[in-house]
């Protein structure tokens, strides 16, 4: 799914600027995650805004940047299932900012804020998920209940939904020697290549799965820019921010409580607090 297109140096510089800015003064309730060798896919965890049916949920989405970014708008997808009039069942987002009203000077911050605002104020008039749109118009309570249900099932899940594949796919360097990467990932719990985040990946269950899936684990650093004022540890859902290679979600979900504490610690170390 990843576009895998290289971004020109000047765009990388521009993105570095934007990411630094997001890092310095993060927008409320939004956490940005990027891989250091592929700026063309940017992940963000959006906290469900208080007072909405999405409250307490963490919704992971990704922004795909084309090689023509910022001239062309990024493509946005929700990776966490969500019941929302403007978000299609396949995760596509209908928002003017990403299409008609795009303007190269808007920047990622604006896009992320607009998408979070969409969770506060859906536009059933421009529904992409028509059922959700209809329900919202006809019976807000039912819509809200339904949206809460989705939030409860998918967005509160204390299991990471971050798919390593999504990263490695778009990571040229990793694709080059995928084999080597997965080999180093397997046995040792102290991989040199792995920075903080790999500490998570090499927890026994996860690393086993990573090898099985033959998908490369992140051999390079991933940073997480946290926006929530309280910090991620205050909520159990915060661990949703971890890139762990998954094969069978069911199995890993079962093992998660055991590794949860470890992950928290790793996370504390790995994240730059804001």
């Amino acid at each position: 799914m990843a576009t895998n297109e290289n971004l020109p140096p000047n765009v990388i510089k521009q993105l570095a600027k934007e990411l630094k800015n997001l890092d310095d003064s993060p927008p409320e309730g939004i956490k940005v995650i990027v891989n250091d060798d592929d700026f063309s896919t940017i992940f963000a965890d959006i906290e469900g805004p208080a007072g909405t049916p999405y409250e307490n949920g963490i919704f992971r989405m990704k922004l795909l940047l084309s090689h023509d970014f910022p001239h062309s708008p990024p493509k946005g997808y929700f990776l966490t299932k969500i019941f929302h009039p403007n978000i299609a069942t396949n995760g596509e987002i209908c928002v003017n900012t990403l299409k008609k009203d795009w303007n190269p000077s808007l920047g990622l911050r604006h896009v992320l804020i607009v998408i979070r605002c969409l969770l506060i104020e859906p536009f059933p008039e421009s529904a992409l998920n028509e059922q959700a749109g209809k329900m919202l118009l006809e019976n807000y309570e039912e819509y809200a209940r339904h949206a809460r249900l989705y939030t409860g099932i998918h967005a509160l899940k204390p299991k990471p939904k971050f798919k390593t594949a999504a990263i490695s796919e778009s990571t040229t360097a990793l694709n080059v020697d995928q084999k080597a990467a997965s080999l180093t990932a397997a046995p040792s719990s102290k991989t040199v290549a792995g920075p903080e985040l790999s500490a998570v990946a090499v927890s026994p269950a996860a690393s086993e799965l990573a090898v099985e899936a033959a998908s490369a684990r992140p051999a390079s650093a991933t940073t997480t820019v946290t926006a929530s004022a309280t910090g991620p540890t205050s909520k159990p859902v915060a661990s949703a921010g971890f890139p762990v290679p998954l094969k069978k979600e069911g199995t890993i979900a079962a093992k998660l409580p055991a590794v949860d504490r470890k992950k928290m610690d790793a996370r504390k170390k790995s994240l730059k607090r804001l």
Partner: protein, 1129 residues
């Protein structure tokens, strides 16, 4: 590489075909003159000896009929192909005549009758890009027009080329003079062998090759004014003022009036005079589509206030006329009467109408501009000379030039009448004489005389006046060609009435001595007389990189060949283009013939340019200019260059070239066209900003939900149709193949993706291999029929079930209010040709993806109807909507909320099951959208999809051609604006290669031939960044001659007061302060990191690498610093 060798090879391949064609395919070979048969047999003999060089020029004359030959498809039903064939025969005869003697020939009554007997048909494949500019009506008018071009100098040749490419009915070339050396620098039809021949005759065959549906004839004796009566438009490029006044008078008063155009290029000066008669109606003054708006409300008032939805800004202007449709409530406005716009604003305007007593507005409505024709009253030349009115201004910094040139051209005419010659280049005495004539004419103007005339301008004018320079001819050939099209069609606004232009800045900065300007009896004599032999030498030795060999590229090659650029051993043009020639190219890319279709553009163009100037030193490559080809276009290649000329058709490649030119500090001459518009931009190291410094705003994209459920114009329907085409016919079949080639890997990839998009894809793959798999053509028809039902009935029923017509939004407004349009389902009706056509196109393409042969009867409507009727279509039951689970703590929930990953697992099991039922080795054939093949059903299907959807939403439908323009994103293009752009660029090339020019000498242009409008201005300087006491621009580079570590690099910057937070090399990040791990890299050498992280391979000859650094100053402000080159060895 010797380009001509390649040319020879191709001729060898073609020869049997050509001979066979001439002998066999032409009925009545015996009618061919004897000499032609002799020539043919000698060709055959010589071919055996392999004398390709000798042959090439001869063959060149004998080849023009191939295009029609290709068209002779055995399509019995079409009378048109017979017509074309007749023309073929005729042009054979005509060409032979041209070779035989100088007997002149006019289109006879017979020609006229033949061409008038059936309405001219448009070859839409050939002319698609031009049709996108002109439309069918204008093209038909062009096809019915006879044009005279008198004076076959370089300007005449350019005009003729543009008109023959455009496709007028006939072009008559008039000239009673002979070719001389001075003609060779501007008329690309002439070679040195032509010196002494009649100029009209020497052009005719090569001109005919460009388009053999145009009748080309010659007139080689003195022209009488009665001769003009046959034509709709006459153009004179070399005529005395006296004669011009006489002819113009005749044309002006003729019934109906004959459009008269007089144009001259003299050195770096040019003029156009236009007289289309006492009353000329311009049908379309600007060539723009009528503006529209979607209405939100209309007041009952006088004047009435009309507001529109804030979807798009309105582009109406005051006094525009508009009509209304679909207005509900205030139905009086739907009467089709044009009404006037007042006080127009971005989203509203007042209507000059009293609506007080009209019904009150309820909803809906579309307002559309009515384009108004304009009547122009031209003055005849003799009156206009004395009272020229306003000149069309092109360069505000030279606002006083047009009126000086108006008189200067008259003074030159007197000089020539008095002395029977032009002023001699560099001759002070002749210049004085011209200035005297000028003064006399100026004095006679009385009160409207011009004061403070710059003698220097007149001296330049006098000195260069004999020369016809190719760039000037190309530029004016484009302008005048367009004026002729306007005269013949009423499309676009003519020049009213004089246009003058000069490019004195193109002269070298140093003073030229008379002896520098002396002719050397070479084909460059004309150019030398203006620029001197020193610059000529520089031109010949120049190393030029032309990127792109399409329309712009062909024109550039022709221009450069004539100018003698890279025409000696030291000089070299490298031209690259990875594209091959297609039929739709031929109506502009005039170096290509239809027997070149499928061949590499750059090679064919280079060979053709070598025919224009055999001294040209050129290499043709087929590499796309992109990061992947930097091994071909490497440092030493770049360092050798003097100048880069872009001839590209897309922004990405332009941005890339810009970046490379900035890096290697090379001048970049950039240009582009869009229909009648063109622009040129000079990028000169350290003087101007670079190309990428400014960009046009991005194209507006329609929001996802608009395309998905709420389209309100045909563009939305076409966007949807293309994405359905790609999903169904390309993407899904490719996915199927991906799965079948490696089921295990595919399943693993899908599982690891585990998201909604992977699930979607899997569902489609299964659908394709299971429920919707086709084994016979009947299956495909059934599939197509069901698709129709799904797309145009069921989905609409579901949508209107979900949102009924009377739905309300949360604010109480109707859900289906503007710009949304309420859809209605279609009922499949076999008797509706568009329904049936959809069925045909869809089933044929479906069959293709399954490798099912398409039976002949597939195209037979009756049989198709029968097959379509056999399909059982189940009744549609709208989904009642998602069931609400009331218990939020419920552990089992409806299917919709089940996790994607679980679904994917089930789907994969299912997929593996159904793949077992497939025949061994089964693969699908993905179809890639190809817009330009009229027989592949791609556009039929897309137009069908879009139009049926448009019908659902009561959006006006479009024909296949229009659908192709929009869905295929066809860029409208005509030969004239291309010629204009390249002429302007080549005027700049003189400056670049001479060197020493200041920024204000360079000119950027925006022009729109439709209005017409010329905006010539000096380029913008590069942005200067200041930090502490340093200043730099994009052209600067910071150099560090040391193999340093990342930390040392950061300290180096720190010493300049800069904090680096991100350092990248190519597309890889070497360091970013956000990633704690990167701190570990600080003590590594930058070069080692680049090798390690960026996988940078630094070629052995390169001693440096470049890094891009993002940094802040001490106050935390971002500072854009130059690229840093680290010389590590």
């Amino acid at each position: 590489m010797d380009a001509r060798f390649g040319w020879g090879l191709r001729l060898g391949f073609l020869l049997p075909v050509v001979v066979g064609f001439l002998l066999g395919a032409v009925p009545g070979v015996r009618d061919l003159p004897l000499y032609a048969l002799l020539l043919l047999s000698s060709l055959v003999l010589m071919s055996g000896m392999g004398c390709w060089r000798v042959l090439s020029s001869v063959l060149h004359y004998m080849l023009p009929r191939k295009r029609a030959a290709g068209e002779e498809v055995p399509d019995a039903a079409v009378g048109g192909s017979l017509l074309k064939k007749q023309r073929v025969d005729w042009s054979v005869a005509s060409s032979s005549e041209g070779l035989k003697d100088s007997h002149h020939r006019k289109p006879s009554a017979m020609d006229r009758e033949r061409n008038g007997s059936s309405p001219p048909e448009i070859d839409e494949d050939l002319h698609s890009r031009q049709l996108a500019v002109y439309g069918r009506e204008t093209m038909r008018r062009l096809f019915a027009s006879n044009v005279l071009i008198s004076g076959m100098n370089g300007l005449g040749a350019e005009i003729a080329k543009n008109l023959v490419l455009a496709g007028v009915k006939s072009v008559t070339l008039h000239d009673d003079g002979a070719v001389d050396m001075w003609d060779l620098s501007s008329n690309f039809f002439f070679s040195e062998d032509d010196v002494g021949k009649n100029r009209a005759l020497a052009c005719v065959q090569k001109l005919q090759e460009l388009n053999n549906t145009v009748i080309i004839s010659t007139h080689t004796t003195k022209l009488s004014k009665e001769d003009l009566s046959f034509f709709q438009a006459v153009v004179f490029t070399e005529i005395t003022l006296e004669k011009a006044i006489e002819f113009d008078d005749y044309c002006h008063n003729h019934q109906p009036p004959i459009s008269f155009i007089k144009s001259e290029v003299r050195g770096l000066f040019g003029s156009v005079f236009v007289d289309f008669g006492p009353e000329f109606t311009v049908a379309d003054v600007d060539g723009e589509e009528p503006h529209t708006g979607i209405i939100a409300s209309i007041s009952n008032d006088s004047p009435a206030l009309v507001t529109c939805v804030d979807d798009e800004r309105l582009e109406f202007q005051d006094n525009d006329l508009v009509v209304f449709s679909e207005v509900e409530g205030m139905i009086e406005l739907n009467d089709g009467k044009p009404r006037k716009v007042k006080n127009s604003r971005p989203y509203s305007f007042y209507l000059e109408e009293d609506t007080t007593n009209f019904g009150s507005y309820v909803k809906g409505g579309i307002v559309t501009q009515v384009k108004q024709p304009k009547v122009l009253k031209f003055k005849p030349l003799k009156d206009a000379l004395r009272d020229p009115g306003d000149f069309l201004l092109s360069d505000f910094s030279k606002f006083d030039h047009p009126q000086v040139l108006h008189l200067a051209f008259q003074a030159l005419d007197r000089f020539r009448c008095n002395y029977g010659r032009f002023p001699v280049a560099g001759c002070e005495d002749d210049a004085k004489k011209l200035i005297d004539h000028f003064s006399i004419i100026n004095e006679s103007m009385g009160d409207s005389r011009t004061e403070n005339v710059d003698d220097k301008l007149l001296r330049h004018f006098a000195s260069g006046s004999r020369a016809i320079l190719n760039p000037m001819a190309a530029m004016f050939g484009g302008i005048v060609g367009q004026e002729v099209v306007k005269a013949c069609s009423g499309k676009f606004h003519p020049i009213f009435q004089f246009f003058y232009f000069d490019s004195v800045e193109s002269l070298p900065t140093e003073v030229l001595e008379a002896k520098d300007l002396t002719p050397l009896n070479s084909c460059y004599d004309a150019q030398i007389s203006v620029f001197g032999s020193k610059l000529q030498k520089k031109l010949e030795e120049a190393k030029v990189f032309i990127v792109g060999s399409g329309a712009l590229g062909c024109e550039f090659l022709k221009n450069l060949a004539l100018m003698g650029v890279s025409c000696c051993h030291q000089g070299k043009i490298t031209i690259t283009d990875d594209d091959v020639i297609e039929k739709s190219n031929l109506s502009r890319q005039f170096l290509f013939r239809d027997w070149n279709i499928g061949q590499a553009k750059s090679t064919v163009a280079a060979s053709a340019a070598c025919v224009i100037n055999p001294n040209l030193h050129i290499e043709a490559l087929q590499n796309r200019a992109s990061p992947e080809t930097e091994n071909v276009f490497n440092d030493s290649f770049w360092e050798s260059l003097d100048v880069v000329i872009n001839a590209l058709d897309n922004i990405n490649a332009r941005m890339y070239m810009d970046q490379r030119c900035v890096y290697f500090q090379k001048p970049l001459l950039e240009s582009g066209t869009l229909g009648p518009k063109c622009n040129t931009q000079m990028v000169i190291p350290h003087l101007t900003e670079n190309y990428g410094a400014s960009r046009d705003p991005p194209e507006k994209q329609a929001p996802m939900c608009t395309v998905h459920s709420f389209p309100h114009n045909i563009d939305h329907c076409l966007t949807w149709a293309r994405s359905e085409f790609e999903g169904m016919l390309e993407k899904t079949p490719s996915e199927v193949n991906k799965f079948l080639s490696n089921p295990h890997e595919y399943a693993a990839a899908m599982k690891s993706a585990g998201d909604a998009q992977a699930r979607d894809m899997l569902e489609r793959v299964i659908e394709c291999l299971d429920k919707e798999r086709c084994e016979t053509f009947e299956d495909c028809i059934a599939w197509a029929r069901m698709k129709f039902e799904d797309y145009f009935s069921n989905r609409v029923k579901q949508l209107t079930f979900t949102f009924p017509e009377d739905s309300m939004t949360s604010t109480g407004a109707p859900f289906w209010s503007a710009p949304k349009r309420f859809p209605r389902p279609l009922q499949f009706t076999a008797s509706d040709p568009s329904h049936l056509h959809f069925l045909m196109a869809a089933s044929i393409l479906r069959a293709e993806t399954f490798g099912i042969p398409v039976p002949d009867w597939a195209k037979n409507p009756t049989k198709l109807i029968v097959a379509g009727d056999r399909v059982l279509v189940p009744d549609f039951q709208p989904k009642e909507g998602v069931k609400i689970v009331t218990d939020e703590k419920a552990t089992s929930v409806s299917a919709a909320s089940i996790d994607d990953a679980a679904v994917i697992n089930d789907l994969i099991v299912k997929l593996e099951e159904c793949s077992k039922k497939l025949p061994p080795g089964f693969r699908m054939k993905p179809i890639q959208f190809e817009k330009d093949d009229d027989t592949n059903y791609h556009m039929d299907f897309i137009a069908g999809l879009a139009n049926m959807r448009a019908r659902n939403y009561s959006i006006p439908e479009v024909d296949k051609l229009k659908a192709k323009f929009i869905a295929g994103r066809i860029i409208p293009a005509i030969a004239t604006s291309t010629a204009l752009a390249t002429g302007l660029v080549c005027l700049e090339l003189y400056k670049v290669l001479a060197g020493g020019h200041k920024m204000e000498d360079y000119k950027n242009t925006f022009a729109n031939l439709a209005l017409p409008l010329f905006t010539i201005s000096e380029p913008a300087p590069p942005k200067v960044v200041e930090h502490q006491d340093m200043r730099w621009t994009v052209w600067d580079r910071w150099v560090i001659k040391e193999n340093l570590t990342l930390r040392e690099l950061m300290n180096w910057l720190r010493d300049k007061g800069l904090d680096a937070y991100s350092i990248s090399c190519g597309t890889s990040l070497l360091y970013n302060s956000m990633f704690p791990k990167h701190k570990e890299r600080l003590d590594k050498k930058v070069v080692d990191l680049a090798k390690e992280v960026a996988k940078a391979e630094i070629p052995p000859y390169r001693r440096h690498l470049d890094v891009v650094v993002a940094c802040e100053d001490d106050d935390g402000n971002d500072i854009d610093i130059p690229l840093i080159s680290i010389y590590f060895r």
